[in-house]
Each structure stands twice: as structure tokens, then as C-alpha cells.
Symmetry: C2
Subunit: 300 residues, 2 copies
């Protein structure tokens, strides 16, 4: 099961009742944190997501509202007694952030691997992370997180091949064992689960591609009204209508709006604008949570 938690849905400045945009994706006891603005460690606590289990922090870009929670989170992980290494990934320019963050965090009892995300997919526990180049006013990347799903287990073929029942579980999990291989007993891989996090950005072709048929797209919806379209273009953000339109075009299964301008106090007009394009759009709110499971009809 994949658990997705929207820790906050605000852009630019943290507000008393709206934390900065950040998302966690948890699967199999590990958690990926996407973005880490000031207050993210508090939001983790508020919404019951264990900071201790974070294995990767994926940064979209290096504006303060996406990174300034890093030194405090690293210190808190230290005081929690973490010793496991932590990967922090982000687009070009990561070194310029790693140095001052490390200086402020001070000595840590665990290793931090700072890793420029580039354009190549990489593994993070059971997930495959694909960086998605976004269109912001600085280098920025979203992330498509994919949990693959193996094919159906074919008991008839397993029996015919004389594979002991005690090995079936490991073969089903994709492991080769005692000379037997998964392809002997598994059908074609089935549809997995995909979560895409994309802020800060204009709607753009790379995001449209990455989001096709995604189970969840959580996307920049900075401006409620298309009256702010010029500002959206100038600052590299999207209006809620644009976000709904991209979601509809990509055929995503769920859409969460996030990264609202601090000037947005009422979420309804922006939600209506998104729903005019994608009727199922959901206005992101702090603590919004979704559980995706292969076995619950989410991916028939």
C-alpha cells in the first residue's frame, strides 16, 4: 500500500493554518519526502508521518519555501538517533544548497548523500523515481514515483515446473531462487501505482507526459483565477484552471491542487476553476491523505 500525505498546500510563506507545500509518499516502511520548506518537520509531526522513516528527500528547486526546513529536519533526525544514511536529491545547483544547510545543521550521526537528480530514473526502495523537468523561473523538477506490480502468479505453471510451494512467495516477489526464475511463474507485469508531484511550474509537455494515467497528480495551483494568468506566466506558476486542464488532458485518476498563493484565502473559486476542466479535482488541504492499494480496486 502507498500512503500519500499532503503536509501543506501553501506557497511562498508559511501561514499559521497553511504549511508550505510538501508531500510524503510512504510504502513498505519507507517514506519519501517531496520538498521541505520551513515548518515541514512540524507538519510531519502534526499529520503523524514518521520523520525517522524518511529515506529520501526530493527537492523540486531551491526557493526558500521548498528547502528552508532542511537544517531543522536534519537536526531533529539527529536527535532521534538516526544512523541510517539519507539521500537528498534535487535539480542542478544542489551543491550551493548543501553547503549552507550542512553548515547550519552541524555534525550529524548519519550520512547525507546529496545527489543531483538529472534526468535519469533512480530507485528509492520499492519505488522508481523519475525526475520531470518543469517550467519555473529557476531550474525545477517534479517527480513521478512509480510502484511496479508483478504479473499474476500462475500456480498451474509452477506445479508443472515442479517448483516447491515453499518457494512460490519469493518467486512472486521477483526473486530468483534455487534455479527457478520469476518469469517461469508470473504473467505479464500489471499496472502499478504512480504518484506525480509537480510544483512550481507552468503546465508543460514533460509534465503532461509524466502524468498520463497517473493515480495521483499533485500540482501547482498558485493562482485561483485566470485574471492572474500573466502573473502565473511571469513567475512560472499555474492557474487552477490550467492545472485542471493538464490533469484532464493527461487522464490522471486523481488531482490535488497545491501551492496556493498566500493571497488565496477561499479555496472554492480556484477549485471550481479546476473542476471546470477536471470535475474530480480536489482542493489540497494540510493533512489530506490517500491510501492507494493494488488490492482495493484502485488498479483493476
Amino acid at each position: 500500500m502507498v500512503t500519500v500525505t499532503l503536509l501543506g498546500c501553501g506557497g511562498t510563506q508559511p501561514l499559521p493554518d497553511r504549511a508550505l507545500s510538501a508531500l510524503t509518499v510512504s510504502v513498505g516502511g519507507a517514506t519519501l519526502l517531496l520538498d521541505c520548506g520551513e515548518g515541514t518537520q512540524t507538519a510531519l509531526r502534526r499529520w503523524g508521518v514518521s520523520a525517522y522513516r524518511i529515506t529520501h528527500i526530493l527537492l523540486t528547486h531551491y526557493h526558500g519555501d521548498h528547502i528552508l526546513g532542511l537544517p531543522g529536519l536534519l537536526q531533529t533526525l539527529s536527535s532521534l538517533g538516526r544512523t541510517a544514511p539519507l539521500t537528498v536529491a534535487g535539480p542542478a545547483g544542489l551543491d550551493a544548497v548543501a553547503a549552507p544547510v550542512s553548515a547550519l545543521a552541524g555534525p550529524l550521526p548519519f550520512a547525507v548523500h546529496w545527489q543531483e537528480a538529472g534526468n535519469t530514473p533512480f530507485g528509492a526502495g520499492p519505488l522508481t523515481v523519475t525526475p520531470v523537468p518543469l517550467q519555473h523561473r529557476v531550474p525545477c523538477c517534479g517527480y513521478a514515483l512509480h510502484l511496479p506490480r508483478a504479473g499474476r502468479f500462475d500456480t498451474a505453471r509452477a506445479k508443472a515446473a515442479g517448483i516447491p510451494v515453499s518457494l512460490w512467495g519469493r518467486l512472486q516477489a521477483g526473486e530468483s531462487v534455487d534455479g527457478f526464475t520469476p518469469d517461469q511463474v508470473l504473467g505479464p507485469a500489471r499496472r502499478g501505482l504512480t504518484v506525480v508531484y509537480a510544483t512550481d511550474t507552468r503546465p508543460c509537455p514533460a509534465l503532461l507526459d509524466a502524468a498520463r494515467d497517473a493515480d495521483l497528480l499533485c500540482m501547482d495551483a498558485t493562482y485561483a483565477d485566470d485574471a492572474d494568468l500573466d502573473k502565473a506566466k511571469l513567475y512560472g506558476h499555474a492557474t487552477c484552471r490550467e492545472t485542471g486542464a493538464l490533469a484532464a488532458k493527461a487522464g490522471v485518476r486523481r488531482l490535488w491542487l497545491t501551492h496556493y498563493s498566500a493571497a488565496v484565502t477561499d479555496l472554492q473559486p480556484g477549485l471550481a476553476a479546476a473542476q471546470s476542466q477536471y470535475p474530480g479535482a480536489v482542493a489540497g488541504t494540510d493533512g489530506l491523505r490517500l491510501e492507494l492499494d493494488f488490492d482495493k480496486g484502485d488498479n483493476p
Copy 2:
């Protein structure tokens, strides 16, 4: 009038319902901010203290829970269009903080004057700030903030000296004008207002001296119970009983407890321990506010 606002009362880690310890002291349209842990800009907003009016940020020391809100606050001041210079003061070692904080905050449209506080009093608007060397496990200083009060205006002397009534206001405000000087018309200086902020620290002689007869002492009360006295000594903090005892010995007029350990969930036992020494002790809570005024019987 001096307005004192406790922005948060927590130590070490920010909690969803307990921001990190920080205090503002506002007088005459200017605000001094004491400590700036992660989330301080949010607490300023929550409690209605204008970040824009901050003229000085006084740091007690450089542990993360006292400084990691700086980059975000500087960026927010920038987005508020601040152009007025800002002073950031703190004990020895400030340079090592200034560099990474400035790197993360990025270019700002206002000057930041980083100033090691040393042991010499300095002016901050109408206030005199006296650094108070504390006993923590790193160099640490508290601050005594003093608002002086001029002597009574002697109208009989003013008339006898032939001073035009139009000049009385400026003379009363301490200004020399048209050859007349304040000492011609003012009685001896009266008792002013003093606010002392002291965390993180053991009880110590310098703090006892600085706090004598203070209008308000806001002091480290990390541990509720003297069962944690060894920890308090090891980590350079105070127990609530110790804090009450210092306040009583110093004869302060008001005591606020602050910087509670994250392990303290119920404030009552610690408050009772403090009150066993200083009956008027108040358990600091986020947003606690006090208005001190010469004219309202606070300083007869």
C-alpha cells in the same frame, strides 16, 4: 507602552501546538525579536506581531532551535518590500551563522548588520540592550531590555527659567533646544521598565544581577521536575523550581517560564514547582502577551 509577546515556549523541536521559544518586545513602533527558531515567522503572523517592524534580532546562541527561522524570516521581510536595515546581534561565533544564513536567504533589498553583542550595552531605538552572559554548554547570552523614564517635569522651574511652553515637550523628551537643557526642568530619572529574556541557561550570578527588580523575567524552565536536575546541569538548562528560586531571589515583578522540553506535555507540575519558590510564576504559553506602561501603575 512596551508590549511583550511570547511567540513560543518550546525547546529543541517545534511541536504542532508549541512553537520554539522566542519573544518580541515592541515599543514606539519598533520591535525587537529575541531568538528566531524554525517557525518564528509563522508565530509572528499567528500572534499579530508585524515582522516588518522588527529592527533588531537578538540571538541568545546558535543552537538550531534559536536560529533556523532566520533565512525564512529574512526572505519574508524581503517579499514584504523592506528596505530599512536590520541588526542581528548575538554572542561570539556570529560569523559562522551569518555566512550560511545569508547564503540561504539570498540577495536581500535591505542591509543586515551582523553584530557580536559582547558585554557592552547598546541602544536599540528607545531601549537599552544589555547582554547578560549565561551558563549554557555553548557561548550564550540573555538580554536585559531597559526603557528609561525621564524625571518629572517641573513646570515651576520651567516658568522661572523663562522657557517658552512650546519647547516643554521636547525638553521633557530629553532633547536640548534653543540653549535650554532637560536638566533645567526635569527631576531625577524615574524607574523605567526592564524585560529580561534568558534562555538557554543554568541559574547563574550574572542573570541574578541582571534580573533584579525586573518588570518581567522570561527564563529557561526546560525541566518540570528536579528529578531531571542532573540533566539540567549536563545540558545547561534550569528546572522550573530553580527558575522560580532565581526569580524570587532577584525580586522580579513577573516571571514567565519558557523553553520547555518537548517531553513536558502537562505544564502544571512545572508551574507548581516554580510557584513553590515564586508564587506569581506564570507558565509561558504561545501568544502570551503583556503590556507594560509607566502610566498604568506598573511602576509607581
